[in-house]
Amino acid sequence: GQQVMQIPQYQHVQEGEDFTTYCNSSTTLSNIQWYKQRPGGHPVFLIQLVKSGEVKKQKRLTFQFGEAKKNSSLHITATQTTDVGTYFCAGARLTGGGNKLTFGTGTQLKVEL
């Protein structure tokens, strides 16, 4: 079945440092979504990428979709303590049952002062 891996699994940074998480799918995706889960919370949608090579920005966050639509990345510039949480990519592919989202393994980010 489809697998979506993320690296690293954990990342500790000092506030102000940059952070990147990478997402790799075993199959070609129709689109990819990114979610953030704060400690003790639930996943919250951040963004969706659809086109090959697409780049989108949200303030300090930059999202990229690979040319082959099998990988993606999330880069945070100058991390803040509010960035703490687990970041998930979720790859979508068409199946007989419709669009199926498979979540990546997640990257847990800790930001220290």
Partner: protein, 112 residues
């Protein structure tokens, strides 16, 4: 107004018991899901219903039985609970196509 609400928030029970988790969404979405998140934060889809019809049923023990009385509700019943069932269970809903998932606050199930 809570868009996707699940009850209970916490559930502590003993092995062998049967328990249910309820989920309701007021977003008018056609599709609802159950996800299981383990202690390593891995999020795994369990079931998906579209307008009360089961469309995704991953490899889940048949002790888990979802029920959708209408498209706004998706409940999860678990029979003969085991230690390995301890996890956080999230309900989610989405509109058609590639729209984002909206998650409930989760139910932390602890089986002792």
């Amino acid at each position: 107004d809570t868009a996707v609400s699940q009850t209970p928030k916490y559930l502590v029970t003993q092995m062998g018991n049967d328990k249910s988790i309820k989920c309701e969404q007021n977003l008018g979405h056609d599709t609802m899901y159950w996800y299981k998140q383990d202690s390593k934060k891995f999020l795994k889809i369990m079931f998906s219903y579209n307008n009360k019809e089961l469309i995704i049923n991953e490899t889940v023990p048949n002790r888990f039985s979802p029920k959708s009385p209408d498209k706004a509700h998706l409940n999860l019943h678990i029979n003969s609970l085991e230690l390995g069932d301890s996890a956080v269970y999230f309900c989610a809903s989405r509109d058609v196509g590639n729209s984002p998932l909206h998650f409930g606050n989760g139910t932390r199930l602890t089986v002792t």
